[in-house]
């Protein structure tokens, strides 16, 4: 335990408000204003977690979203949030903080011995080793050893509100560059949106300090805030812009209140800053090794220090202010600077041309090996330079160029639609940040000036991983990737950075490789003798930092995830005892009454054959096609000619895709000379409408035809069964004499009524359609007449049985993505039609003419009903699939199972025996005609 709290320093903490919390069960105290990470550091906790693969002890490393180690499950107010970065969570009283992937605690993890096997666990070890023994067997055990936090099943936070917004100018990041840009634009009157992930504005000004225009940074921050508000802009703190998408759309996660923003910005200035790079040496993952920038951040904001005897290793000037601040706080500081010369360093010990080659210690740092000699230390701070945060730039399609003098990949101008300023642009130092920001905000000169002390000239000597050093050097802390793993990947040929990433998992952890990608890339470049730009980077993808699914999904979950369409008569059906289920996007009655659903479905189907049944057929599409050219249009879009249909009649037909495959089937009604109604399948209405529109707009150039989708405007109730007509007459509904496939438009109760004698059951059926506001009156009328004829309401489960008994098909169930009409026995139009129609040419390709196509047939079995989807195999011989069962039911009227199946060359095999394979067993079935019930159709016409 060597972290401690300074007596007076710490700008954000309130020492009058102590907060009690626990870490792995141990009671600790922090202050209001602390983050979980700063409170742990101040309390002297060194091991905050265990590494992903080897279970090595790990300590705090960073200051924000780049933190690879301090990942916790945090319970507060009874709920647990998993995988929280300690650096990003404000401490609250009563928090229970637990390390992830440890048992029982981070300090005493029982899997710690795994690390001793590291020699045998290189990159790819698990896959190479356990594939042979059957990965499925080993995976659960291996997964139990790795992984992150645990979900709390009781914690179902409300989805974040989803807000769409637009702004003329969005500035991302409120460090000095972002502030200067936002202020300049605001002072010119622009309504700027300033986005800051942290709880407070200022970015590095908050810990690096400095003077701007002769004043302290807080004055500059306050003046910027005032200018933005005066110009009508907005300031978002605690809000992470996590993704850049096409056409300048950005997604942002606001924590308090919890909101998810989709922001369309006319212009974007990216001032996301930079993240400090590590330095690589043996055991550089020991608790006590951390980023120098993070140590300064901890000291200035929270008064939290990582140790009392600290070595700072660096090769640039940015580490010096850190060392001075630590020394002023009473720490014994040694700088190990790799360069032979550097700034003067009063008050700290300095070693020039000195590098740390190893960290000493078993569970935490006890010393640093500098140029071969051991020096006692309880913390080692690394300042390996800075990597610009170019994530959003690259997500937006921006390219990067290698800049040797800044030792970084920086945005190539004009390759993405945003302006990058400050450290994100590789322009390190306060003066550069202010001047670039001011100019990006189109500010009037001069730019805000910085004092010279704060504006380090910033010469950077490159630091790279050295494969010659003995010991294990960690490149990716969160995913446990060492420099040797990178070497192994190179030797095995995974030299592309994208392959390196996937082979070693480097950069794939939830820190998105913020501290590891550069090291891995530099090491691979060195291994393969390429330059860094030749080696390239992996692709940057959203999200910039993990975003909870409840934020992304918002209220779209459970019932609201994909809301079904609802029937106008839903509540009436509920009163009648209906049990609902979704069919093709519609919530429809499945069965009525209490009891076993399959029994109720059987009973309903039996009633329909015996007396009469009523069902709600409203979702059936109703597309009105009107005008002098309507017939011409339908002839082109349909497989069956419709222009020859007589007014007052209906005809069954198909609609094909241009590839000849059936898209939909249904009945087309022609209630009047110039008016047709296309009854599309309930789930295909939009698709059919657009196919009709395509022909209307493109082929007919909109002349002489209009299309009108009136599906929702009408309610259709269907009466089917031998007593259907009797029941309608009892109900006082005037049913004229009409033939099968006849259509009549009449009136009932002063409202329009359309009666169509169309049957989906094979029994006498009347489809009664009324405007939806008359639906309940019609329902009540029919309901009253039902009892006298011993009829009942039936749901879709019964209708499915009735239609299958007749061999009537459902597109997409009894057909698949290659079924053509002649496969169903509807070869007539294909052979006879001379005129052009959609999909026609495709019906005459060699494939379509093949005599081994799958055709729809019936199957008869003695056993229990077949399993839908079961494959058909030869009755004897090798088990090759000849097709599959598409529909299968017990038929109450026949007292035996019925089934439909797609079978290769099926009609030629009529009467033969075939095997039906399911779950290892084969039962025999006889190939039979599609229609199993009343093949002569006497019930329909009688």
């Amino acid at each position: 335990m060597s972290g401690w709290r300074h007596d007076t320093l710490g700008s954000t903490i309130d020492r009058n408000k102590p907060l009690a919390f626990t870490f792995d069960g141990q009671p600790l105290t922090g202050f209001a204003g602390d983050t979980v990470a700063s409170a742990l550091m101040a309390a002297g906790v060194q091991t905050v977690g265990r590494s992903f693969k080897y279970h090595r002890p790990r300590g705090l490393w960073g200051l924000g979203a780049e933190e690879p180690n301090a990942i916790f499950d945090i319970t507060h107010n009874g709920y647990t949030r998993p995988n929280q970065r300690g650096t990003l969570v404000s401490l609250a009283d009563g928090m229970e903080v637990r390390s992830v992937n440890t048992a029982p605690t981070a300090a005493k993890d029982r899997w710690g011995w795994l690390d001793r096997l590291h020699r045998f666990l290189p990159a790819g070890f698990y896959y190479k080793t356990f594939m042979a023994g059957g990965w499925m067997r080993w995976e659960p055990r291996i997964r139990a050893l790795a992984g992150l936090g645990t979900l709390d099943p009781d914690h179902a936070p409300k989805g974040a509100a989803q807000i769409n917004a637009k702004t003329p100018l969005m500035v991302i990041g409120s460090g000095p560059a972002g502030l200067a840009a936002a202020r300049a634009a605001a002072e010119r009157g622009q309504a700027v949106w300033l986005m800051e992930a942290d709880a407070a504005l200022g970015g590095s000004l908050r810990w690096r300090g400095g003077q701007i225009d002769g004043q302290d940074p807080q004055s500059f921050i306050d003046a910027t805030r005032a200018a933005i508000n005066a110009a009508g802009g907005r300031i978002f703190t605690g809000t992470t812009v996590w993704g850049a998408f096409d056409h300048r759309l950005f997604a942002a996660w606001q924590r308090e209140p919890q909101r998810h923003w989709r922001i369309r910005a006319d212009r974007v200035i990216l001032a996301a800053g930079a993240i400090e790079r590590p330095i690589w040496f043996a055991n550089n993952d020991l608790p006590g090794v951390m980023s120098a920038e993070a140590a300064l951040h901890g000291l200035r904001l929270f008064g939290a220090l990582p140790g009392k005897q600290i070595v700072v290793t660096t090769a640039n000037d940015s580490a010096y202010p850190v060392a001075f601040a630590l020394a002023a706080a009473g720490v014994d500081v040694t700088i190990a600077d790799a360069r032979p010369e550097g700034p003067k360093a009063d008050g700290v010990k300095i070693r020039r041309s000195a590098t740390v080659t190893a960290a000493q210690g078993r569970t935490h740092v006890t010393g640093a090996v500098i140029n071969g000699a051991l020096q006692a230390a309880d913390a080692i701070l690394t300042a390996g330079g800075h990597t610009p945060s170019v994530h959003l730039w690259c997500q937006a399609g921006g390219k990067l160029d290698w800049n040797a003098s800044r030792d970084a990949l920086i945005p190539r101008p004009n390759t993405a639609d945003m302006t990058v300023v400050g450290a994100a642009n590789g322009s390190f130092g306060l003066r550069a940040a202010l001047s670039e920001g001011h100019s990006a905000g189109d500010g009037h000169p001069p730019a805000p000036s910085a004092n010279v002390e704060a504006d380090a000239p910033y010469p950077i000597a490159p630091v790279r991983p050295d494969p010659a050093l003995p010991g294990r050097q960690w490149v990716d802390l969160q995913n446990d990737v060492t420099l040797k793993d990178v070497g192994l990947a190179a030797r095995e040929g995974f030299t592309s950075v994208e392959h390196l990433k996937r082979y070693t998992t480097l950069g794939m952890a939830t820190d998105q490789g913020r501290t590891s990608n550069f090291g891995g890339l530099a090491a691979m470049a060195a291994q393969t003798g390429r330059t860094i730009p030749e080696t390239g980077t992996t692709t940057y993808r959203p999200p910039f930092q993990p975003v909870p699914l409840t934020v992304l999904g918002g209220p779209r979950r459970c019932e609201l995830f994909n809301p079904p369409k609802r029937l106008a008569l839903e509540s009436a059906h509920r009163d009648l005892g209906a049990r609902f289920r979704e069919y093709g996007g519609w919530l429809r009655p499945a069965v009525y009454g209490d009891g076993d659903e399959a029994d109720l479905a059987q009973q309903g189907a039996a009633t329909a054959r015996k007396t009469v049944a009523l069902f709600d057929a409203s979702p059936l599409g109703k597309l009105e096609v009107i005008g002098p050219n309507a017939g011409q249009l339908l002839d082109f879009t349909g497989y069956v000619r419709m222009s020859s249909l007589n007014p007052g009649r209906a005809r069954y037909g198909f609609m094909l895709r241009e590839n000849g495959v059936i898209f939909d089937d249904g009945v087309v009604l022609r209630p009047a000379e110039d008016r047709w109604i296309v009854s599309a399948s309930s789930s295909h209405v939009d698709g059919v409408r657009f196919m009709l529109e395509d022909a209307r707009q493109d082929r007919l150039a909109r002349k002489g035809v209009a299309i009108h989708d009136v599906t929702a405007a009408w309610t259709t109730l269907t009466a089917t069964g031998p007593r259907a007509r009797m029941m309608l007459e009892n109900a006082g509904i005037p049913v004229p004499d009409m033939p099968h496939m006849g259509v009549v438009e009449t009136a009932l109760d002063d409202a329009a009524l359309r009666i169509a004698r169309v049957s989906f059951t094979g029994d006498l059926s009347y489809e009664l359609s009324v405007p939806t506001h008359h639906a309940d009156a019609l329902r009540a009328r029919l309901d009253r007449a039902l009892a006298a004829v011993d009829g009942q309401w039936i749901g879709l489960e019964s209708v499915m049985i009735l239609r299958a008994e007749k061999g009537f098909i459902l597109i997409g169930k009894d057909t698949d993505g290659i079924t053509m009409p002649h496969d169903l026995g509807w070869g007539g139009p294909r052979e006879k039609r001379a005129d052009e129609y959609l999909g026609k040419r495709s019906l005459f390709t060699p494939e379509a003419r093949s005599n081994n196509r799958r055709q729809l047939v019936g199957l008869t079995v003695d056993s229990a009903p077949l399993v839908t989807g079961a494959h058909l195999v030869p009755a004897d011989g090798p088990r090759t699939s000849l097709g599959f069962v598409t529909s299968s039911y017990q038929s109450p009227v026949l007292g035996r199972p019925i089934a439909l199946a797609l079978l290769a060359d099926g009609r030629a095999r009529m009467g033969q025996t075939i095997g039906v394979f399911n779950d290892g067993t084969v039962v025999e079935a006889t190939i039979s005609p599609l229609c199993a019930f009343d093949p002569g159709g006497e019930r329909l016409h009688g």
């Binding site: 096409d246 399609g397 657009f690 395509d694 707009q697 909109r702 026609k840």
Partner: protein
């Protein structure tokens, strides 16, 4: 999320649109005189240009088909036109 200009409704999110076909990809007619190879090319062989492209898109919410001009690399949208015979 790209935004496309429907000639009838203005700028809308891409989720409101559906790609239909490339411009300059007419249906060969009479189709029955078309060889199998040419018909297959009509069905499946698209140019998918890298760069400037003109395509027919459908605006699902208003039901209008139109021509969209865009760059498939930069995602820049350069304009849209109604089909012949339609006036926005």
């Amino acid at each position: 999320m790209q935004r496309f200009p429907c000639p009838f409704c203005g700028l809308r999110d891409e989720t409101e649109f559906h790609f239909v076909v490339e411009v300059g990809h007419p249906r060969p007619e009479p189709a029955e005189d078309t060889s199998d190879a040419d018909w297959a090319a009509y069905l499946y062989a698209y140019l998918a240009p890298k760069g400037a492209a003109s395509e027919i898109w459908l605006h699902l919410t208003c039901g209008e088909y139109f021509v969209l001009h865009r760059d498939t690399v930069t995602r820049e949208v350069t304009g849209s036109d109604p089909l012949p015979g339609a006036a926005p």
